[in-house]
Amino acid sequence: MLRVYDTELRSRLMLGTSRYPSPAVLAEAVKASRARVVTVSLRRESSGERAGQGFWSLVRDLGVRVLPNTAGCHSVKEAVTTAQMAREVFGTSWIKLEVIGEDDTLHPDVFGLVEAARILSGEGFEVFPYTTEDLVVADKLLVAGCRVLMPWGAPIGSGRGLNNVFGLKALRAHFPDVPLVIDAGIGVPSHAAQAMELGFDAVLINTAVAQAANPVRMAEAFAQAVEAGRAARKAGPMEPRDLAVPSTPVIGTAILR
């Protein structure tokens, strides 16, 4: 079972709650995914519409843990203040820490990320940093107090899968005991299975499910892919070869010339 910050999770699939066609589809997709953690955010509330109140009621009824994010924050100050506000509203010290450094790629500002992680860890937060596959940044995040890392597969919402498999494999090998969750960029279930086969502990999916033609069926497909990938990792995949090796025995082959 996956253990993050002393919490055991039955599912290795985490699901975002944004960009679904309707709240009802979101709720059905969460159930189909069998996710036990969903990500949420904080945004300005209109006193007239009170949209946030209805959303929060829906999420609470799902009976899952929430992982609030600091999406949209571009500075340490914004991220820290948003985290403080999220802790009060959502009643959890978990925070998916995003400090964005570049708007076209939503590339993390890793310098601000490490600094914000240090501040928030010191304030008792359990930080899930959205980072890159950079080994040095990963090490500094762990020193800053993080006990889980969330490297990107590809830019958020791009659906491009694992852009740097070599770098991600190096990250996995370098930190064998740190829970690593692939966050962002996964587009189809085979990407999620690949991440799990490489030994990552979990994946976080949002757009790939929410923007599918049928989000509920896609959520189920991702659930199966994550389980298959995890099972394959535990089973020990074969090493690839450059040349063919006959799978049918050569000995006993008839000579028919």
Binding site: G16, T17, S18, R19, Y20, L26, T39, V40, S41, L42, R43, R44, E45, S46, S47, G48, R50, A51, G52, Q53, F55, W56, V59, P68, N69, A71, K77, T81, T82, Q84, M85, A86, E88, V89, F90, I156, G157, L204, N206, T207
Partner: protein
């Protein structure tokens, strides 16, 4: 006095954050507040004075990835 609430100028007679939330229609809502960029916990809103031109952010749960 006028304060900036979620980016829009509003007229309020409230002198503290807690009473401003009531006056602005947020009574009973699950929201978090920040005044001039600093988080103000719910428990401290009664003791958070408002001044002309203050920037108030009122945030609520929303979809997120």
């Amino acid at each position: 006095m006028k304060i900036l609430v979620n980016g829009t100028w509003c007229e309020t007679t409230a002198t503290y954050l807690a009473s401003a939330l009531e006056e602005l229609g947020y009574g009973g809502s699950t929201v978090a507040t920040a005044l001039n960029g600093e988080f103000v916990p719910a428990i401290s809103r009664c003791a958070a004075p408002l001044a002309e031109g203050d920037r108030l952010e009122i945030l609520a749960p929303m979809q997120g990835g």
